[in-house]
Each structure stands twice: as C-alpha cells, then as structure tokens.
Amino acid sequence: MTKYIIRRILTAIPIMIAVVFIIFMLLQVLPGNPISIMMGEKAKPAVIERVSRELGLYDPVLVRFGRYVWNALHGDFGRSYKLNRQVSDLIKLSFPNTVRLAISASLFAWLMGIPAGIISAIKRNKFVDHFVMAIALVGISSPVFWGAMLLQFVFGFKLKLLPLSGYNSYKHMILPAIILGWASAGSIARMVRSNLLEVMKNDYIRTARSKGLKPWAVVYKHALKNSLMPVVTLMAIQFAGMLSGAVITETVFGIGGIGRLTVDAINNRDMPLLQGATIFSTLIIIIGNMAADIMYSFLDPRIRDR
C-alpha cells in the first residue's frame, strides 16, 4: 500500500517536470521580445535592450528554464507584464474564487448525479431511466458557454431572480455552480448507472440475494459500494479539473478565478502570468489524478494489499 502510494507519487514527479518544461518552451519559442510588449511601442530600443539583458532574456533556454524552476520553487513566478504584480500574488487572489466555484459545482453534481444514476439503474429500461439518461446526455452535450448564457437570460434577465455575474455572495455562485456541475452530473449519472448494472451481474450479488436480502438491501449494501468506487475516481478528477480553472464559466459569469486569469493573460499577451497560471493549473490536474488513483486504492481492499 505505502509502496503503491510512493510509486504513484514518484511517477508523477517526472510528468510534472516535463509539463513545466513543455509550457516553458511553448511560451519561449515565441518571436518578438516580451520586454517591448511590456513597455509598449514608445520605449526606446536601447532601454529594451538593457532591461532584457538585466532580466537575462539572452541566456540559453535551459539556463532560463533552470532559473525559472529555481525561482518557482521559492514561490516566485515572475511579474505580470500587464498588471505589474507578482504572478504568485495574482494566483493567490484568484484561486479562492475558483475553489468556491469548484466546491459548489461539485456538490451540485454529486447530489444530482449519484441518485439519478442509481434510480436509472434500478428502473432500467423504464421511462424514468430513459428520461434521466436523456437529461444526462443533454448535460454532457451542451456547450458550457451556451448553457451559462441561457441560465443568465432566464434567471437574470427574465425572472430577475439571480445576479448575472460577479462573485460576492452565495447567490452569485448558484448559476455558475449549476452550469459547471450539470455536465459533470451527467457523466456521473451515466457512470453510476453503467457500473451499477455491471456490478449487479456479479456472482456475489446472487449470493446476497440467496441470503434473503431484500432488493434495496442488495443494491444498497452489496452493489453500491463496489459500483461507486470508480465513480469516486471520476469525481476526484472532475473536481481537480474545476480547480484548475473553469475557463468558460468564469468568463461568462465574470468570476475572477484561475481560468479567467489565463484567458486574460492570453488576450493581453502577458507571458509570465500565462506561464504561471498554466503551470499552476496543470500541476493541480496532475496532483488530482494522482489523488484519485491513491483514493481508489484506499477504497478497494484488493488494491490496498498490493
């Protein structure tokens, strides 16, 4: 068990390094001097030249990469060109908003998705099943930007029930949480259903029924735990995905989170900010996937003993 966890963590480390390197390279091959972008068109070439040299922009790429990683490990991701603030500070400011959104969206997804999947599996091939599964499919098929704007229109403009955008109160979180959670609720419901049906075919379900357990007890005690284990993995991965920044939801609802930060950085050609934000997001995904695998090993006694 401990061995498994250590091995899982060790495999994540080279991936993290590779990912950081790829992001760094993607942003460094860019033509044009970032300093001239930062200082604007009026800056004198000599000044640009001097600043670039001072910042070490003319050093070999690998040297710059090493320096970047070294600084990053000390919490220094550089300064944003556009906002002229420490990238780490900007991330620190945005992340809580993303976390709040991720938690509310996940809660919505879990509370909707798991029961929906169970009901669908129990009422298999009945009307309820088809109905729930159709809604789940709409959930995973609808473009988030469209769903978000539809909700804005209905609840914001027409019914005037909820605020259109911003992130100051729990009321602001309702619409974004629903739209972000809907897609993941859909995939959770589908997975719960198919896993539950799969698990119900197992021999130990027959054993449970032969013991005289009632149908709900067979499902609840013997099928559910087994079928939810992979779903927990899915939920963890989705949660990590939301933590890495719900780009579209944050953009539509004007939530100042990590995703919004990334999009703004691209549109402002703010390289250090983009670099810091993407590295941050990607590391969260890697850690999330790792956590999901480790969590699964805790849940399943068969893997636990390995």
């Binding site: 130990y204 027959r206 054993t207 029924r209 032969s210 013991k211 006694p301 068969r302």
Partner: protein, 326 residues
C-alpha cells in the same frame, strides 16, 4: 421418510429474443429429511436453473411458469416476494460454484456471514460475531478470530468455500442446495470440502441437494440421484443402483465415459453428438439423436417415467413392458 422438499412438474422457461427456451421442462424431485440428493447432468441440462427456481432467484428473462415447490408441504411458488425473503438463506440456503467470485470483495468475510444472521434473527452485532467465529471453527477455518476480519481475496479457494458453507448452515436451514460446490477447487481440497459437508450434514440433519456434473462427487456423498438431460429427469434411483445397474442409455453412457484404470486397453467411451439446442428440441425422446439403442417410437413419442421398482424410475421406452414384450 418425511419429505422436506417436493418439486412437482416444475417448468422454468427463458423468454429470449430468439424464442422460448424450456430450460426446465416438467421436473419432479423429492428430498427426504436428512437425505443427500444429487442432480447430475451435462452443463446446460437445467440443473442449476432448477436450483435457482426452487429459491426463486431467477431474473428476467427466466420465469417459472408451472409446477409446485413444496417445502415442508408449503408451496413456495405461491409465496409473496416478502415471504420468500424469510426462506432464502434461512430455511433454504445455497452454495455456489465459484468461491472466488461469490463473496463480495469489499467486505470482510466475517461481516458477510454475520449479515445473514442479522437479516434473519434479532441478534446483536457482538453476538453475531461470536456465533460466526464459532461457525468458522466448526467448518474448519484455522485462526477463526483472525479470519473474521479477512477480505475474500486474502483467503484461498478452499477457505472461501468453507466460508460459503458457514454462511449456508449458520441459520440451521432445513435444506441446503450446493451448486457445483467443488468444481472450481483442487482435487485434494475437493475431498476435504465434500467430507466437511457430509460431516455437517450428519451433525445437523440438514437435507442437501448436490448439483454436479461429476459422478465421483455423487458416489462420494449422495444417497439418491436424479439424472437430468435437456430440462428433464431421465433416471432416478439410489446411488448404489445407479452405479451397479444404470438403466437409461444416457446414464450408462455417462458412467462409461469415466476413465477407469481397469480398462486401459479400451478406447475411452464418449456419448456421440452434442446436447441439443433447447430452442428446437428433437421430436420424441430428447436423447434419441445420440442414443445407441434408439427405436422407431423414440423419434415420435416422448417416453414417460417408468417405475421399475424400489423407487427406481427411468424415462425410456426400453422399460415399457408392453412395448418390449408385445
């Protein structure tokens, strides 16, 4: 002898897209108190479906369409689902073929055995644990206290089957149905498990229905045997007569296909042909296309069960006195 179980004219059909499959087609079985009754046949002959029908564990598309299943004189087929829960695991218990997959991998084996007690009796958790550990000791599980908290994958196949047996007898059922309980096990383990079942049966007086395709198992533990073929009982008699004087050509075919050390010079006998497709059964006797002694009548008429004395019954025209003598 008091009859514990009487199955009369049981018909269980599967309603598939390709048509109705009569997996069990009018089966009669009797089990006396304290008796070990074997049901033998090739795979697909309907022996497991018979067992599942007795407990009413079949799910769509399988359905029992006709017959009676009398346990101590009460017809289980007339019971409501609510009432049936009280029978399963309590009065009739079942042991399955695959000890590897028949236990839930995410719960400890002790908990799974205790569960059956908690369902059928008002026993406290502590008491249940005590009783399960006692039962583990009784079925020969070493270190029962430690094993209580083991997960199925941590036990060997033999130990798992002992757990299943503990689960099957812990509620003192009147009848235990064992569906190929030793097929998945090593030969040495098989002998131990069969011995254990025989011992437990003697101690408790529980009747056992032993479903198997292995005639060795039958010889080992059974008192009486039903030979099934394509959803019907072909022959029934006590175990000695079965081996000494098998009457049905199918039964003798089965017995002849067991390799024997005393007959090294001969080729191993096999029954020619294959089990018929239940979707389109041959007219007349179901075994007819594979039978060495088939007669004209066999292709047109289904033989009834002929009583040849001492509870020996056989479904074959060879034992129709009028037909054969006249």
């Amino acid at each position: 002898m008091k009859k514990v179980l009487e199955v009369k004219n049981l018909k269980t059909h599967f309603f598939t897209q390709k048509g109705v499959v009569p997996a069990v087609d009018g089966v009669d079985i009797e089990v006396g108190a304290g008796e070990v009754v074997g049901i033998v046949g090739e795979s697909g002959c309907g022996k497991s479906v018979t067992a599942m029908s007795i407990l009413q564990l079949l799910q769509f598309p399988g359905k029992t369409v006709d017959g009676e299943v009398l346990l101590d004189g009460e017809d289980l087929l007339l019971k409501s689902p609510e009432e049936m829960y009280k029978y399963r695991g309590n009065k009739i218990s079942m042991i399955f073929q695959e000890p590897m997959t028949s236990l839930n991998p995410v719960y400890t084996v002790g908990k799974q055995v205790a569960e059956i007690l908690r369902v059928h009796t008002n026993i406290s958790k502590v008491e249940a644990r005590k009783k399960v550990i006692q039962m583990f000791e009784k079925v020969g599980i070493p270190e029962p206290i430690k094993r209580y908290d083991a997960y199925p994958h941590q036990l060997s196949g033999g130990l798992r089957q002992r757990v299943m047996i503990a689960m099957a007898i812990i509620c003192d059922p009147v009848l235990m149905i064992a569906d190929e309980p030793t097929t998945a096990l090593d030969v040495t383990i098989e002998a131990q498990i069969l011995y254990l079942m025989k011992q437990l049966q003697k101690d408790s007086g529980t009747s056992i229905v032993m479903i198997t395709h292995n005639l060795g198992v039958v010889a080992e533990v059974c008192d009486r045997v039903y030979v099934m073929y394509a959803g019907k009982v072909m022959e029934t008699t006590d175990v000695f007569t079965l081996f000494e004087n098998p009457l049905h050509p199918y039964t003798s075919g089965l017995l002849n296909s067991i390799p024997k050390l005393t007959r090294v010079d001969e080729d191993l006998y096999t029954i020619r042909g294959i089990v018929p497709n239940l979707l389109n059964l041959p007219e007349g006797c179901r075994f007819c296309p594979r039978c060495d002694r088939a007669m004209k009548i066999c292709t047109v008429m289904e033989p009834p069960l002929y009583d040849v004395g001492d509870g020996h019954q056989v479904r074959c025209f060879l034992y129709d006195k009028e037909l054969m003598n006249g």
